[in-house]
Subunit: 402 residues, 4 copies
């Protein structure tokens, strides 16, 4: 019987997953639990550097980074189980340096940056010497879920560009070593296209972090920030890729970044289910183990189903990305399903644990807080559904006209 | 056309609702927002006394309390819109002295307490001079969702009883003026019945608050505590009602307490929907108001439907309680549906507000934290569903055999 | 304790409900079961006349009809439990002459018709001597969920109007004694308003039933038909109400017609739950009664909750209608929730009965077929949600501007 | 970049899928539509033979059958897209001879039957010369969802066994060329194990089909029957595999049979979505295409997500089966999710098409009837959830004890 479909992982990947799990259990979960998942309270960049050093020692640091920059150059498919293993701790991504937005920025720079930029920006980023931020989202009425609304303007000046505008929800902005700034180089807000990406060191004149937007997730170093760019000068050499091609490059980043989010947050959802299983497997009530009550079994099974489906969709999307596709559809589907499934999984896990589920005695309530934003970040479910539907209708239209 | 069904409220109630809304807007919401809904950070009992005084001045204090103790003696039906109005602020119940567990304790004492007990315990409680706690729930394997597991024992001693045992999730325990303690006076843990209620001042020897269980809700003064009762002496005069009849009395408290929870939390859910409506009604995106996008309209409509259904079930259950029924079925249904509906409403409201929805810029995320436990407190949804099903099956069996 | 809220029914109504239940059990369910719910196979109008006669004898015929026409003139509130009792059989509405579209037409004619029209049309309709149809819906691109698209035109001719156009999904058209035809008397398709209602005997020249649209529901006599109106002459005397006010009058019919649909279909959903309860209460499996398995209990309880919520929303909407309100919001909410809840209830009932649930041994599968269209008829859920959201947003806007 | 994961199909499979689609469109859908999906009305076994001949001519007949019996010996992974393509018509499985129960019986016989049995039973079955049935399920209180309740007894007689008992829901029984009968050869009803499989030609003395259980699905030839086995003699040579090992062999059949069900029914769900997409892509309303309305887009997208997730879970489960695993968990998950997802997909498709959705003008309502039983057949969702939960809890227990 000849077969093509293959869902097994190479032994090196399996082994890396095991090593990552061990590392997370030993070095990361204890810190996370001590500080109840608040990465700032736990030390912020100091903690990051400390954990990064340990991750390097354990051979689990930045496995996605290009081999030339010290990583393992894992394919998207191979990242999935490794990132999930790291994601069991909300500090795991920081520890392995595989968190948003750095992971996506490494990915994009590896695709687009020229040699000098690779040396100046990508190399230190891949090594964890600096953090980065991706400055795209803007306050209303600028670019939010609708990218065409881009309002931050880059105007031509001698030897480069001057950037002016406001940004919002810029993850990791506070303390970022450099920024990738999306700014409009042609057209008006509301027009399609006309965006360009610029690289700028964090200490460039005119870059200001106005405030942190405090959200329910607490695991991202540098927060989600509101920023102002005032006459920020970027020399031509720091234009990333071609002028006016910003959104095309953003696509390069988009699909993979969505999927690594799914991987990491899958880890948190899996952990929630483990916590709940451990609880209902021990706890007695109503004349037996909670785990033997039908309604509890339904919660357990629905969690298993949700996790399996999210993982299967992720595997599909990663494979398509590895084939060189944008995988717009399959990443939208995996992201939307995953984000919603993970919220359901944590919520059911809480319910299984009763009063303790909503308490600080267990990590579940804070995992719920950590996972809730994922239905909004990286495109709210509604925007993904809109895009999924548009493509499906478009395909139907084509078929009809064929 | 002769009609019986009447769903209108008396003018006095309508007027009280309006006054309550005004009071909440003016005196309560500002404090709540300043302290992000953390009643302890906002001053705890000091805040309570201050807000109680203002509520008395505004004529909105404790409207459910018996007339003889200075309240308005509102029926359950009439409480519904008033408590909902108060519940729009998570500090509202504390401000009006209509929060758990005091409100339920007032209700129960008014039904069961003898004259001396009314004077000693009910009068100061109704007046807000003291707070109270209801010590029933126990750590595993004691009485949790399954009341028959009651393990705290009261043994006969000269002139009264000695109580020993551990309790958990005792709301308002820290700083309570007195406790109503449920303890076993006959039978063994696992047996039905055999429970008695005891009154004990908070400073009675042997009563100890071991720790607060920190949960996602932050609006209840005195926390949810773990407690130990060690040789707590209660004189015969402080036995509440008859010996061994504790669970029968608990029934008196149970239905109404569930419904007032629904009323108060309904207020929070209504507020969440208002915040979201205000957002989508102003905010532009995708070429128009967010409020004009079909998927947003679906979220809005589902919230309206959920709120209307929860309110309609509440009205039904309150009417049955007012008729003198235990209303076990209708209160279980209203509680289960309400608790789940409110979580859905807040979650949809968050989704409508995008990134701001999960931020501290809006109160939605903390309202979600405040409402989540309601699917567990006062009986998890699963236990209510079990009871609802058992009754339905029992009725079917009777009909078949008839 | 002074109370206003009252949810009890007058003894006469309670007694009528009991009589209706008895009548349905004795005279209607046996026929329905014999013919598996296909009213045409069971005899169509012959069956109707026979059952109507029995209903008259039993004193349960057309209790909603005006007293002057031999009915009991029940309020909307009082109709609810009676129509629900009748709805337990899918033939019940035909038997009691309280089905769509006659029941709504009686209601509307009682409000709008002049004396002659009351004599000519309403009297025989109320007495069950004839059936009627309401010809409003049109094939695409005419008036469907969007009434402004009305395309059937009425043009002024000597002494009256000539009507031309096509209609679709006209319930009861085949064999109708007369039609109420909605046609455009001013403006163009797409314009708001400009509609007028016309009365026309079924044998008027130019009225043609083109075909039956066979749908999953089988209980409506006269089917759901496609029709053509070709130069149908209607004398001025048969204009119903004022010219160009057709949509205003349709409103009169709309809310109540929606609610009586909910009442009748509630009966079917309640029956489904009874069938399922009877099954799980008897059937053994997995070491006990099915009724004692947690997942079955969850299905049972969710059915109870859905039915209770639908009924509570119905009571609310009926009361508002009885107060003289259009009750657009509360009827939309009750209709949308009810239609969706009933589908869920029957689906869960099927699931509880396993293989027999999808078989003809039990009536559940055909009840599902009977109930499914209700999420589409009388406005699809999506259109109601759109209207509910628009009103909620409108109220929010007004509040903000206040 | 070294990759292992591979989700592409071999060119031969891709080509076979295309050929199957063409065949279904040309030869199968027209018949199905003419007879509204009722395979008996369309000719039953006569139709089957006619379509089988055409399928052989088109090179798409029985592609799963072993190569030695004229099939292509497709792996489970490779069957998935082919069976899905066939499943777009509810007559497709009959046409290709890949329907239940024959397909599963071929699979099982290929694994277990000895040489003589392969020649006598498997060869004609694989060639489509005869149909078969798998007689396992019994009426209450026998073996249904709970296999330990097996009550049909096989007693030792000279040269073989005598079988007595009743069976229910035996698919394809009426007209079956032979039966595979599961009967108890040791122990009592309620005991684990002790079951044996027997082969018996359809005309063996004592085999009687009592009646068809008419269910909502109409595509399976030979119906779902109630049967009685009275002193049915089976010689030792027709014992299938070892005595008392029946349930172990049933496992061989179980997982793959579940998955081929998912494949075929996936085809129906995909078809429903296509019908709906075609409708909303053409139909105008509310000032534009239905396909551009947000709530319609949500329905479209949710269908896409459900289909993608079901397919991804199927791919996973098939790969595990192809690896030689029982894949109990992944087949339970894929079956449970798939069955529920397909019902949702068809239901949403109906909703998108409004009144036509519930009419015979479109195939959607009958596809819903065809798919509904799948949440019950092959183990109700509740039983699968129970098994999924038990395994998850078992794993958690082991981990804890490790």
């Amino acid at each position: 019987m000849l077969m093509t479909i293959d869902l097994s992982y190479r032994p090196e990947v399996v082994e890396l997953v095991a090593r990552t799990e061990l590392f997370i259990n030993e070095h990361v979960l204890p810190v996370e639990n001590e500080f109840r998942g608040d990465v700032t309270a736990a030390g912020g960049d100091d903690l990051r550097r400390e954990l990064n050093a340990k991750a390097k020692a354990a051979g689990v640091f930045a496995p996605h980074a290009p081999v030339e920059f010290g990583g393992l150059g894992l394919s998207m498919s191979d990242r999935a189980p490794v990132f999930e293993a790291a994601g069991r701790s909300t500090f795991g991504p920081v520890a392995l340096h595989i968190g948003a937005p750095d992971e996506g920025n490494v990915h994009m720079l590896a695709h687009i940056a020229d040699d000098r930029q690779r040396h100046e920006y990508l190399a230190p980023l891949a090594a964890g010497a600096v953090r980065s931020a991706f400055a795209m989202t803007e306050p209303s009425p600028g670019a939010g879920a609708d990218p065409n609304a881009l309002s931050t303007m880059a105007t031509r000046v001698d030897g480069g560009w001057k950037i002016n505008g406001r940004k919002r929800f810029i993850t990791g902005a506070d303390g970022a070593g450099f920024f990738i700034i999306m700014a409009r180089t042609s057209g008006e807000p509301g027009d399609r296209g006309g965006a360009t990406m610029f690289l700028a060191p964090g200490d460039t004149d005119g870059i200001r972090v106005d405030r942190h937007i405090h959200t329910t997730d607490k695991s991202m170093i540098g927060g989600h920030c509101e920023m102002t760019f005032t006459d920020v000068f970027v020399p031509d050499a720091d234009v990333l890729g071609e002028v006016n091609e910003g959104y095309r490059y953003a696509q390069v980043r988009l699909g993979p970044a969505r999927m690594t989010h799914v991987m990491r947050w899958m880890g948190s959802a899996v952990r929630a289910q483990k916590v709940a299983l451990d609880y209902v497997e021990r706890r007695q009530g109503f004349g037996g183990r909670l785990a033997d009550l039908g309604m509890i079994q339904q919660l357990v099974a629905d969690n298993e189903i949700d996790l399996a489906a999210a993982r299967a969709l992720l595997v599909r999307a990663c494979w398509e990305l590895d084939q060189g596709s944008h995988a717009s559809d399959s990443t939208s589907i995996a992201k939307t399903f995953g984000a919603e499934a993970f919220s359901r999984v944590v919520d059911r896990s809480i319910q299984m644990c009763g009063g303790l589920g909503v308490s600080e005695d267990l990590p579940l309530a804070r995992l719920a807080d950590e996972l809730r934003p994922f239905r909004i970040y990286d495109g709210p479910s509604e925007v993904h559904r809109w895009a999924i539907a548009k493509r499906a209708v478009g395909r139907a239209r084509k078929e009809r006209q064929a």
